[in-house]
Subunit: 202 residues, 2 copies
Amino acid sequence: MGRTSTARERLLDAAGDLMRSRGYSSLGVAEICARAEVKKGSFYHFFESKQALTVEVVDAYWQGERTCWTDELARSAPALDRLRRLLDAMAAVQRRTKEASGTVDGCLLGNLALELSTQEPGVRARLEEIFDEQIELVAAVLAEAAAEGAVPAERATVATARAVVAQLEGMVLFAKLKNDPGVMDDLWPHTLRLVGAAAGQA
Amino acid sequence: MGRTSTARERLLDAAGDLMRSRGYSSLGVAEICARAEVKKGSFYHFFESKQALTVEVVDAYWQGERTCWTDELARSAPALDRLRRLLDAMAAVQRRTKEASGTVDGCLLGNLALELSTQEPGVRARLEEIFDEQIELVAAVLAEAAAEGAVPAERATVATARAVVAQLEGMVLFAKLKNDPGVMDDLWPHTLRLVGAAAGQA
């Protein structure tokens, strides 16, 4: 109970906070334990390795973000409006982080994908599943947009959905690099072009 | 002379090779020196810090890549053809790396931007300059495409050019994550949509 029962959760929270700003490789188990106020010996009671912990950090991050994705995409509104709200929400996350900490941290999933996908197969596999899920969610809303006549049916594909998520991740990269969430302000017009919607739509 | 005169170059080469596959944080100066066959004491004769070395690694990487960019963009051909050749060349780099090493390494500039732009201000500033230069090169070729009537004049902007480079970096991220350079096969049709060219053009 008490501190013991929350130690696992505190390790996950501490690792998530540290990884969002500093990535994976520069973190050691000792530092994660110190921030979580958990003894290093206890770490391996909860997690087999830093890699195993990271898979759970990634899962927890996506669990939170997925709630945002599915909430925005499940609203009662035209499909393209819902896609726009989702992308606006992603930009809002970067703005809030900048306001709170002074720094645009980017997307933990994209950061880890580029930092370590060639090195940590367990993390890579989980990240691949998550990005595939994001692409499927976008493809589903594009199919609805096509059914509503808002985008051409031939654009309502997984390939277009992948381009939309790639554009999002590329713009997050620039926002992080410039430490300026305003870089993402253009995301919507570019996305409209990718999906082939009429200019000025949504 | 001999080994001594090439020690600086060997340190840069070794660091570049290691960073392409493993990023920045997990590398130590000792490992870079061991791979370069240079004594650790000599490292600080050539470079003030690992960060200073990394700025030079980034410069050397972009010097090589920029030659490819300017060669492709300076050809005597319609502007959109030249842009297409540039993007094809970027995809070819990922295919060749996969064939040679079994692994898609991605783009060193994008990898480092996401791994450490919040941590190493000197590297961040140089990466920002390089991506700005890439965006300017694309904006210039879009202006030529507009003059040729191949894209609408209102799309020949820095914002569109940034979207093109963001799409490239996002697709490289997916190619690295999936260890599959084939992910980049769709890059050209998506780019045509971003720049507003007629379907089937170039």
